[in-house]
Amino acid sequence: MSADQPVPAARSFRSLWRLRSYLAPYKGQLLVMGVAALFTVFAELAVPLVSARVIDGPVARGETSGLWALGALAIAFGIGEAVFGFVRRWVQSFCMLDMETQLRNDLYAHLQRLPVAYHDRAQTGQLVTRATSDLTTIRRFLGFGVIFLIVNVMLFAVVTVLLFRLYWPLGLVVALSAIPVVLMTMSFEREYIVASRQCQDLEGDVATVVEESAVGIRIIKALGRRRQIGARFLREARRLRTASLGKVRILAKFWSILDLVPQVLLGVVLLFGALAVSRGDLSLGSLVAFVALVVMLAWPIEAMGWILAIGQESATAADRLYDVFDTEPAVQDTPGARDLAEVRGLLRFEEVSFRFPGSNQNVLSNVDLTIEPGETVALVGATGSGKTALTALVPRLYDVTSGRITIDGVDIRDVTLSSLRRVVATAFEDPTLFSASVRENLALGRIDATDAEIAEAIDIAQAGFVYELPWGLATRIGEQGLSLSGGQRQRLALARAVLGRPRVLVLDDPLSALDVYTEGLVEEALRHVLATTTALVVAHRPSTVLLADRVALLSGGRITAVGTHTELLDTVPAYRQILSAEADFDDDLELPVGASR
């Protein structure tokens, strides 16, 4: 995904070709644009021809009568050229932008469908540049390049036919000149496709560093590491510059040689044409016409260089796009998945094993746990023991590697994602808030939440502070909620989870950032909710554990003990170790302490 990985084998124009379905709705418009482009080119050619007629005709004969007619014709062609130019651009402004926007929306929709495991690895900058510059590149080629590619090839063909009719040996020379052009183009393509892809990937890498340095600005400032992060950015920016210069060099070579072709052609035509004239095979007038026609070829050939370049770029951009589109969402509705209707809330983990995609170590192995309807189970375990991983399995943010999780006896993979996620609500350990209004952050997907429901959720989470924000619930909270205090963020995340009283609640260490009093208040309110809700609560502190009816101890990827808090305290030493209240500061174990000043 990043430029560090080898550039995937060039799929050439296959990805681009796959995009044709996006063009299909605009067939009519594309045709209009093509025809308009053709007319523009021919009108442009017609004006000088008419001028020539004026000079050879009326002016030469010295009569004004024909002048008006021909002059009017020239003006008509001139107006036609402009009108067709206008039509092409105007139509383009509709269909091409529509197509681009459609692609962008589809890309976003697909990305939203891709599972968390994909986003864990995806680099934000790489995705952003796909949605912006890559799409622009594609649109530019499809909306402009392709049309002129066709028009230019047609022009080339028409002129060549004319040349053949004038004097076929020279026409043949011109036609044959297409061979080196094609060969050169092919070798150019091989080189350029690699360079173009590399540049696009590097642009994504630059964007990634930018994103990271903006999101992590607090840490950079807290540690005073502006220089290090700047160096990192410069490294990427330099790589991008080097790669872009490589691209420039390939283009410079290709373009300047390509520009040479019509020149050489002209010289050859002049040489052989003059010889033919002197042998009497060709009239002088024909030679002049011949030269004029070959001059006309110069522009299409030169433009070809530019069109081919953006063609290559859009081909690799399309490759990048299909890298995303071709990633199947690993977590999705199975065929025949049904809706999870009213549930009682019996949540059961059966022989659940889990490893993170791409890792070869099980985080959870053979976890068995049953949570009865309405019961609350606390999940206790050491740092990094897999508690968060376990909670993420319930709303299917990840799928189990083996075993199954059932709700009311139904495997959660057999129900639709949306109905499952309606039943299950989660409060994450990181609050995950967005720069939107408080209300929007609370409701998230539940846009239909009533004011009463929202007020209730706020009450339960003791998040009454939101009413005191400058604009109340309409106040926008900063990116990631960072304009709130840590405890305020956590309470919002909790309120969001309890909103609408879901049947199954998953709370990942929901009170870690609260002071003792607030914690007490929240627990008090939560108790009412938990009384009737099936809940799995990750806990690091005894106070949180007390919310639960039973406790499960997670250790070494397994549930090693289940029971009430007091039972476990009495019978399971490991549990005591992890949760016991006595802070035994007395046994002064010597710790290796470095870096003392």
Binding site: V47, P58, V59, W68, G71, A74, I75, I79, E81, A82, S93, F94, L97, A109, L111, Q112, V116, D120, T124, L127, V210, A214, R218, I219, A222, R226, V248, L251, A252, W255, S256, V264, G267, A274, S278, L284, G381, T383, L397, F428, S435, S437, L444, G445, F465, A474, I477, G486, Q488, S512, L514, D515, V516, H540, R541, L546, I578, F585, A595, R597
Partner: protein, 610 residues
């Protein structure tokens, strides 16, 4: 409805203006200045490039002449039986000029490409550095999405202008001027007909200039909003999926994407009128010259040759006009981007670097807050977080700061770390106002472990090394060992070299905290601020950390913010904060023995331990 006023975004005070605006003229002037300053170091190269363009065109001019010689002299010579020598010479010269043109063109492409890339690089670097220097309050309202759009999309737009051949500009100006002169010399009345088109041309350029400025500005703004929504929602994909926000997000995204489309469409439609308009004007002028010139020729006022020349030249006069209109469009688009970028560069840090810094060679760690008053929004009286704070911490003291959530603990810490400056009063370290310290000095003295633990993608070792870039691997491991992170790190598949991925997502929350902690520990500052640095740790790990802290903190000042009062055990002094005020201050034992707020808090905490 535009997205800017959609209710979902919520209200915030900074909505009024993204960047302080003082009129369009000013904006344009500012962006031109930026462009000039970027181009300045490349003056010589640019002139060389322009020279190459001129030479190349001169070589190009030789072509038609050689053809004429070939036809007029070469052919008669052969017909006269004198052999094809002239023809061959002409052919040779023609090839020579073609190759010269090719070589010059190659030179032009590579050189101008080099200059363009150098300018882009410089621009990226300047904007990035400047953004990193701006204060948190700026970043809070600007959002990372905007930062991304400035440094990607906007910079690319400028890149498009630089790609857009400079040769066209040179040639266009040159041919328009020279051909204009030639036309005047050839026949003044006919040239006047051509001149008549000028006011119209000028009007069209003005019309397009004015309108496209507005629409390109809008394009830049909407693309930024698009990127904001895109990046932020994908960054929080867990919440998005778990709470089924996808449809709503899609709706919002499509709305923003539509705004972007509308802005683009407006710009394109302006072009759709402008470019053919210029074309039309040119063609009409040619038509008029044809008619009037034809008439004058017939009536014998001018020679046929003059008319022919006129017509040929006119085409070469208006074609560059069309090139210019295309170029002008790119320029307009780039100017809008430059406006945004120069706006960022213009933004000054609300936490400025001192003009006359005072040095702090070996910081001791005395901290004073003197009558500090602070609120995140300077405008609203109600939003004051710290009304008036006085605090003295002697060097080497470990202070625990406790209090209800939202009391202002983190805020106090941020003032000491100078994330913000107080509105009134001062914060001093060893008697030096933190506003008078250079960033380097300040960060050497004060390091803070923030409440949100954030790791950068890269290896664990790299992340810890951020605390002290010069640290060796042994130092890094030692720091990890000291706070009890070594075990879990070595258990990772690649140990210290394991990539923690973006935001440290490869690690668990507690593991992230341990790494952040090790990082600060390695930094080895005189004053260490720990803001809820152990909140996600299990009890044994927390205990381990606290035990380590006892040793670590013996010779430095520490401010420890924690809701778990176990921290208090290692603190020399406890501060209780409520509503931005310090309501209690004393040694832990004294306070617990008393009957104040802390005694109650401590009791409540003990009760919570069961």
């Amino acid at each position: 409805m535009t997205t800017a006023e959609s209710p979902w975004r919520g209200v915030a005070s900074e909505d009024a203006a993204e960047i302080s605006v003082a009129g369009g003229v000013f904006l344009r002037e500012r962006s031109r200045r930026l462009l000039r300053s970027l181009a300045r170091p490349h003056k010589a190269a640019l002139w060389t490039v322009a020279g190459a363009v001129l030479l190349q065109n001169a070589a190009g001019m030789a072509g038609p002449y050689l053809i004429a010689v070939g036809i007029d002299d070469g052919i008669p010579q052969i017909l006269a039986g004198d052999g094809p020598s002239t023809l061959f010479i002409v052919f040779g010269l023609f090839m020579l000029s073609a190759v010269a043109q090719g070589a010059l063109r190659w030179f032009f492409f590579t050189r101008s490409g080099y200059v363009g890339q150098a300018m882009l690089f410089q621009l990226r670097r300047r904007v990035f550095n400047h953004l990193q220097g701006l204060s948190l309050s700026f970043h809070e309202k600007y959002t990372s999405g905007r930062v991304i759009s400035r440094l990607t999309s906007d910079v690319e737009t400028i890149g498009e202008l630089l790609d857009e051949s400079l040769d066209e500009l040179v040639m266009a100006v040159l041919s328009i001027v020279s051909i204009g002169v030639i036309l005047l010399v050839l026949d003044a009345p006919l040239a006047l007909v051509v001149l008549l088109s000028f006011p119209l041309l000028l009007l069209m350029f003005r019309w397009f200039g004015k309108n496209s400025t507005l629409s390109y500005r809008r394009t830049r703004e909407t693309v930024a909003l698009l990127i904001v929504q895109f990046a932020e929602s994908l960054g929080g994909i867990r919440a998005v999926q778990a709470f089924r926000r996808e449809p709503r997000n899609q709706e919002i995204f499509e709305e923003v994407a539509d705004d972007y489309k509308a802005a683009n469409r407006r710009a394109w439609q302006l072009i759709a009128v402008f470019e053919p308009g210029i074309m039309l004007l040119g063609n009409l002028t040619i038509g008029a010259v044809l008619l009037y010139g034809g008439y004058r020729t017939i009536s014998g006022e001018i020679e046929v040759g003059v008319l022919v020349a006129f017509l040929l030249y006119l085409r070469r006069f208006f074609a560059p006009m069309e090139d210019l209109s295309v170029l002008y469009n790119s320029f307009q688009s780039a100017t809008a981007a430059l406006e945004k970028l120069s706006g960022v560069l213009e933004e000054s840090a609300t936490v400025p670097a001192p003009a006359y810094p005072r040095s702090l060679e070996s910081p001791q760690g005395t901290v004073h807050f003197d009558a500090v008053r602070f609120g995140y929004r300077s405008d609203a009286e109600a939003a004051v977080v710290l009304p008036r704070l006085d605090l003295r911490i002697p060097a080497g003291q470990t202070v625990a700061l406790v209090g209800a959530t939202g009391a202002g603990k983190s805020t106090l810490a941020r003032l000491l770390a100078r994330f913000y400056d107080p509105h009134e009063g001062s914060v001093t370290v060893d008697g030096v106002d933190v506003r008078d310290l250079t960033d380097a000095d300040l960060r050497r003295a004060v390091v803070m472990v923030t409440q949100e633990s954030f790791l950068f993608s890269g290896s664990v070792a790299e992340n810890i090394a951020l605390g002290s870039p010069s640290a060796s691997r042994a130092d890094i491991e030692q720091a990890a060992q000291a706070i009890g992170a070594h075990e879990f790190i070595t258990a990772l598949p690649e140990g210290y070299d394991t990539d923690v991925r973006k935001r440290g997502g490869r690690l668990s929350a507690g593991q992230r905290q341990l790494v952040s902690f090790a990082r600060a520990f390695l930094a080895d500052p005189a004053i260490l601020i720990l803001d809820e640095a152990t909140s996600s740790l299990d009890v044994p790990s927390e205990r381990l950390v606290q035990r380590a802290l006892r040793t670590i903190l013996t010779d430095r000042t520490a401010l420890i913010i924690a809701h778990r009062l176990s921290t208090v055990e290692i603190a020399d002094r406890v501060l209780v904060m409520s509503d931005g005020r310090i309501v209690e201050d004393g040694a832990a034992a004294d306070l617990i023995g008393g009957s104040g707020a802390f005694a109650d808090l401590h009791q409540a905490w003990l009760d919570s331990l069961v």
